[in-house]
């Protein structure tokens, strides 16, 4: 590589590092991050700029971890205080409820993923799985959480054009991956990307499906060509890779989505068609599909835990951790599709049609779960701000009138 190209690459890297620093820095220190970014613009030596930006990023990461730890410790202290002074009363439960309600989809999902991976790691460590496996899951989780922190979540939630483009891009990537030489391993097709093997289906399909969902408020904004095409490409790719379970889940989810829309809206006519296509493809590819052979600590992990452990405690905890994965959809209406999809995947993993996500060994599922949290569409307008009526005492609210009464002439 020529020297000018190296310099340009280093400068680009420095800018990316600084961008990550700006995103990671806690709100209280945000002006300091801006000061660092301004300094970067003044450094002319590419190596020095890189080193400067790297130092800033390390500092931002440290401060972010510190602030997260402090807020978690403060919450724990408050809860412990409530527990100590008032006993396990309604107050404590109310506080827990408030914390859960206020937490965003991404935070709830990330916390659930952490718990599930932790429980899976404990199971693997205690039951004699290869020593590296829990750590590998941990590294995947850390990478996924860092990626989630860096993703522009607000833009992804609200910018319909960006969602459509990404959906199309993911569909294209999925289809392109069929051309690459994959490794037919246990339970699916693996791609070797550098030093790691990934299952692109787990990585991309959940995010693609959620990105293709159009928030109700933006139904008229565009024709949804990008999302429709993305879904079509995904169906073609899953059919080519003989993935009937994924196709079945996709078809059911699209059917449910189109059934939930109360009125047919422009651009949504394709959804039932795509759903039928996915179900047809699922039926077609199921004829060539073979039930994968089970691998310990990857498939049917709950069943394995139940048969290995004489005490039901570990299995119960693992089941609870697995059920926590659908918590975001339970707490937030706009995240229900995310939870439905992952509930479907969990159900399909019980008999061993798919590997057990997050509890079992597999970084692709961890990344897929965490990254799909960013692809959840934004809350509908009526959910974003509480209505005026909600703040008005009941006795002062206007009595509800039926529409025909409102139209009655005086």
């Amino acid at each position: 590589m020529s020297k000018p190209a190296q310099t340009a690459l280093r400068l680009v890297l420095a800018r990316w590092l600084m961008r990550a620093c700006l995103a990671l820095m806690p709100k209280a220190q945000a002006p300091w991050a801006q000061a660092m970014a301004a300094e970067l613009d003044e450094i002319c030596a590419a190596g020095a700029a890189c080193s400067f930006a790297f130092g800033c990023l390390a500092l931002a990461l440290k401060l972010r971890l510190l602030s997260t730890w402090q807020s978690a410790a403060a919450s724990a202290k408050r809860m412990a205080g409530a527990f100590a002074y008032r006993g396990l009363s309604g107050r404590l439960l109310k506080q827990m409820h408030t914390h859960m309600h206020e937490a965003s989809v991404a935070r709830l999902g990330a916390a659930s993923a952490c718990l599930a991976v932790l429980m899976g790691g404990v199971f693997m460590a205690t039951e004699g799985a290869p020593k590296a496996w829990p750590w590998m899951n941990g590294v995947s989780l850390a990478f996924a959480l860092a990626s989630l922190a860096l993703l522009p979540k607000q833009g992804l939630q609200t910018d319909q054009r960006l969602r459509e483009r990404l959906c199309f891009l993911l569909g294209g990537l999925l289809l392109a991956s069929c051309v690459l030489e994959g490794r037919e391993g246990l339970n699916g097709r693996w791609l070797q990307l550098g030093p790691v093997s990934v299952q692109l289906v787990w990585l991309l399909v959940p995010s693609l499906l959620l990105l293709s969902n159009v928030p109700a408020g933006q139904a008229q904004a565009s024709r949804h060509l990008g999302s429709g095409l993305g879904l079509l490409l995904a169906i073609a790719s899953l059919w080519a890779q003989t993935e009937p379970i994924w196709l079945l889940l996709m078809g059911l989810l699209l059917l449910l989505r189109s059934a939930r829309r109360s009125e047919p809206q422009a651009g949504h006519q394709a959804e039932p068609l795509l759903a039928c296509l996915a179900l047809l493809a699922a039926g077609w590819s199921s004829q060539h599909w073979q039930m994968p052979s089970s691998q310990a600590f990857v498939d049917q992990v709950l069943l394995q835990a139940w048969s290995h452990s004489p005490q039901p405690l570990l299995t119960g905890l693992m089941l609870a951790a697995l059920l926590l994965l659908v918590l975001p959809g339970w707490r937030h209406r706009h995240a229900r599709e995310h939870s439905l999809l992952w509930a479907g995947l969990l159900l399909m993993s019980l008999p061993g049609f798919l590997p057990t996500p997050l509890l079992g060994m597999g970084g692709s599922a961890i990344l897929g779960y965490v990254l799909s949290l960013a692809a959840v569409s934004g809350p509908e307008p009526d959910q974003q701000a509480p209505s005026k009526a909600a703040h008005t005492p009941r006795h002062r609210r206007e009595p509800h009138k039926a529409p025909w009464r409102r139209l009655k002439p005086r």
Binding site: E39, A48, G55
Partner: protein
């Protein structure tokens, strides 16, 4: 009661640069190069010194159009008084810095690799 720790060598190096600058405002990268410390060490020090009231910071418009405003720093009166109370520690830090300059053949004038504005 708050406990004031003895400043570390890096902190002394930063304080020395700021003390030498006097009333002049200095920018983050200049301080880092003159004190010979990394950005990840410099900024926590600056944050702490500012929080303790020993340092003041302002945003300065860049003379080059299109570039964002830069953060500039200098010691406050309280900072200067605190530094004057250190006596020996500061002199030792100054001597160390001079020795390091002689060893590396570093020019006495502050080196700067920032873009001309």
């Amino acid at each position: 009661m708050t406990r004031t720790r003895a400043p570390s060598q890096q902190a002394l190096a930063v304080l020395l640069v700021l003390a030498d600058a006097g009333e002049e405002w200095r920018h983050g990268y200049d301080i880092a190069t003159q004190a010979d410390i990394k950005s990840g060490t410099l900024y926590p020090l600056l944050m702490r010194l500012e929080a303790q009231g020993q340092l003041e910071a302002v945003w300065q418009e860049s003379p080059t159009p299109g570039r964002p405003p830069r953060h500039a720093y200098r010691l406050t009166e309280a900072g200067r008084a605190w530094l004057a109370g250190m006596g020996d520690a500061l002199d030792q830090a100054r001597a160390r810095r001079r020795a390091a300059e002689l060893q590396t053949g570093w020019a006495v004038a502050p080196r700067s690799s920032t873009k001309p504005s």
